[in-house]
C-alpha cells in the first residue's frame, strides 16, 4: 500500500518536474554552453567571461541593475506597508482600484510612463515643464518609478492578505493591554506581515534586477542594466555577442540564486 502511494506521488509530480528540469535547468545549461562557445573566429572557450570581467561597462551595468533593484524594492515595500495600513479598513472597490496595475504587463506600464514622463508628455504639459528628466535619465529614476507603480500594489495585496481579519482582533487585544499605536505596529502588525513581505520583496528585487523591457523603454542608453547590456552585446558584436550575452545573463541568474538563498536564511531567522 505504501509502495503504491509512493508510485502515485511520483506519477503526480513527475510531469511538472520533468518539464521544469528540461526547460529551466536545460535553459541555464544552454546558457552556460553558449557562454563558453569559442565564436566564429575560434579561440579559447571562456573568452566571453574574461571579456566580461575586463569590461568596465559591464561593471557599470551590474552596479546600475543593483541600484535599481534595491531602490525599487525598498520604495515599493514602504509604499505597500503604508497603503495596506490605509486600505485595510476600506472595501473591495478602493482595494481593486489600487490593485489595478498588478495584472497590467510591465511593458504597458513602461509605455504609460513614457506617455506621462517623457519631454512633451502629459506631466510636462500639466506642470509646464518637468523639474527633472525621468525618461532616459542616467540615475534610472524613471525605471524605479515604473517598478514602484507596478510592484507597490502587488506587495500591498500580499500584506493585506497576511493581515486578514484576525489582525484587527489581535491589535484590539494589544490595545486593551495598553499598547499604543507604534507598539502595536512593532509587536503585532510587523510580525504578521514580515514573511510574506520578504517573499514578495525577493520576487520584486529579482525581477527588477534581471528584467529588461522597462529599462529598454524608459532607461538611459548608458549605463545599461545587465539585461540591456546582453541585448546590446548580441546586436553590437556579431562574432562573440551571443557568448557575451549568455555570460552576462548568467551573472544576473547567479545573483537571483544568491538573493533567494539570502531571503530563505533571513526567513528562517525571522521565524525563530
Amino acid at each position: 500500500m505504501i509502495r503504491r502511494d509512493r508510485l502515485v506521488t511520483v506519477a503526480l509530480v513527475a510531469p511538472a518536474t520533468t518539464a521544469l528540469l528540461l526547460l529551466f535547468a536545460g535553459g541555464l545549461l544552454g546558457a552556460v554552453r553558449q557562454s563558453l562557445e569559442p565564436g566564429i573566429v575560434g579561440g579559447l572557450g571562456g573568452s566571453a567571461w574574461s571579456a566580461l570581467y575586463h569590461d568596465p561597462s559591464f561593471r557599470d551595468a551590474v552596479r546600475f541593475s543593483a541600484e535599481i533593484a534595491l531602490e525599487a524594492t525598498a520604495l515599493s515595500a514602504l509604499i505597500a506597508i503604508l497603503a495596506a495600513l490605509a486600505l485595510r479598513r476600506h472595501g473591495t472597490f478602493a482595494r481593486s482600484l489600487f490593485a489595478l496595475p498588478v495584472p497590467v504587463p510591465h511593458l504597458l506600464v513602461a509605455v504609460i510612463a513614457v506617455l506621462w514622463l517623457a519631454p512633451g508628455g502629459l506631466g510636462d504639459r500639466l506642470l509646464g515643464g518637468l523639474p527633472v528628466s525621468l525618461v532616459g535619465d542616467r540615475a534610472g529614476i524613471g525605471i524605479v518609478l515604473v517598478y514602484v507603480y507596478k510592484e507597490a500594489p502587488f506587495l500591498a495585496l500580499l500584506v493585506l492578505a497576511a493581515m486578514g481579519r484576525s489582525l484587527a482582533e489581535r491589535e484590539e487585544a494589544a490595545a486593551v493591554h495598553g499598547a499604543d499605536w507604534p507598539q502595536r505596529l512593532r509587536w503585532v502588525v510587523w510580525p504578521t506581515i514580515r514573511k510574506p513581505l520578504a517573499a514578495g520583496c525577493l520576487i520584486v528585487g529579482a525581477f527588477a534586477f534581471g528584467a529588461f523591457e522597462v529599462p529598454l523603454v524608459v532607461g538611459p542608453s548608458y549605463p545599461p542594466t545587465i539585461a540591456t547590456y546582453a541585448l546590446q552585446a548580441t546586436q553590437g558584436d556579431l562574432i562573440r555577442g551571443q557568448s557575451l550575452a549568455a555570460a552576462a545573463l548568467l551573472v544576473a541568474a547567479a545573483a537571483s540564486f544568491a538573493l533567494a538563498a539570502a531571503v530563505i536564511r533571513l526567513g528562517r531567522g525571522l521565524g525563530e
Binding site: 506521488t9 510531469p15 518536474t17 526547460l23 536545460g26 544552454g30 482600484l97 489600487f98
Partner: protein, 257 residues
C-alpha cells in the same frame, strides 16, 4: 478600534488616483491624431493609431499569435501543474523543499537568461522561431505560477467530495471532470487567468526564442518612442485580456478581499 481612522481616506484616495488615473491616459493617446504641445487634450481625435496598429500586423497576426501561445501554454501548465499541486497540497512528499525550489527559481531568474540558453537547444531541435518553441519557453514561467496558485484548490472539502463520488462508482477521469475541477473552479480560473497574463505579456523569452514570430509585446516596443499614438493603440489590444482579468477579479474579490 473598529472605527475608521479619518486620515486613511486621503491616503487611500491619493493612492487610488496615483495608480488608477495614469491608465486612463492611454485611451486619449490612442485616439489623439493631432496633439501638439502644450495642449492638455488632442486637437483632433481619430483612428490613425488603430489603422497603423492594424497595418503593422499588431491587431492581426501578433494578436492571434499571442492569444494562441498564451492559451496553449496555460492549458499545458494546468495539465502539468494540477497533479504536482495536488501532491504538494496533500503533503504527499516527505521533502517538498526541492520541488518548491524548482517551482520558485524560474520566477526569480531573468527570463532572458533562460530564453538565451533554450535558444541554443531549440535551434538544434528546429523549435526556434516557432509557436511550439514559444509555448515550451513560456511554460518555464507559466507552469510554476499555475502550480503554486492551484495549491489552495486541494483542501479536505475536495477530498470528501471525491470520496463521495468514488462510493457512487465514479472512475478517476469522471471524478476529475465532474467533481474535482467544478468544485475548485474559482482557484482553477484564477490560476488560468494569471498563467494566461504571464504568457501574454512575456517579452524576454519571446525575443530570445521566437524573435521572428510577431507577438504583441515584440511588435509594440519599436513604436513606443517613435510613434506613441500607435504604441498606445497596440497597448489597447494588449490591455483587453487584462480588463477581463480585472472584471473577473473584482467579481471574485467581493468574496475574497
Amino acid at each position: 478600534m473598529s472605527k475608521r481612522r479619518p486620515f486613511t481616506w486621503p491616503i487611500a484616495t491619493t493612492a487610488v488616483a496615483l495608480f488608477a488615473f495614469p491608465l486612463a491616459a492611454l485611451l486619449v493617446q490612442a485616439f489623439g491624431d493631432e496633439w501638439r504641445y502644450p495642449a492638455l487634450l488632442p486637437q483632433r481625435f481619430g483612428l490613425r493609431g488603430i489603422h497603423a496598429a492594424v497595418a503593422s500586423g499588431a491587431a492581426g497576426e501578433a494578436l492571434t499569435n499571442s492569444a494562441e501561445i498564451a492559451l496553449a501554454t496555460t492549458a499545458l501548465a494546468l495539465v502539468l501543474g494540477w497533479p504536482a499541486a495536488r501532491a504538494l497540497a496533500e503533503r504527499r512528499l516527505r521533502r517538498p523543499g526541492p520541488l518548491l525550489l524548482l517551482l520558485a527559481l524560474p520566477l526569480l531568474v531573468p527570463t532572458y537568461a533562460t530564453g538565451t540558453g533554450l535558444t541554443t537547444w531549440f535551434i538544434q531541435l528546429g523549435l526556434a522561431d516557432s509557436v511550439a518553441g514559444l509555448v515550451l519557453a513560456h511554460l518555464t514561467v507559466v507552469l510554476p505560477y499555475v502550480a503554486l496558485l492551484l495549491l489552495p484548490a486541494f483542501g479536505p472539502g475536495l477530498r470528501d467530495l471525491e470520496e463521495m463520488a468514488m462510493t457512487t462508482g465514479a472512475g478517476p477521469l469522471r471524478r476529475l471532470i465532474h467533481v474535482s475541477v467544478p468544485a475548485s473552479r474559482a482557484t482553477v480560473a484564477a490560476a488560468a487567468l494569471l498563467g494566461f497574463l504571464v504568457s501574454w505579456s512575456q517579452y524576454g523569452l519571446s525575443l530570445s526564442v521566437g524573435g521572428g514570430i510577431p507577438t504583441l509585446p515584440i511588435v509594440m516596443l519599436p513604436f513606443v518612442r517613435n510613434d506613441p499614438e500607435v504604441a498606445a493603440a497596440i497597448a489597447l489590444f494588449f490591455l483587453a485580456p487584462v480588463f477581463l482579468a480585472l472584471l473577473a477579479a473584482s467579481r471574485a474579490g467581493r468574496r475574497v478581499l
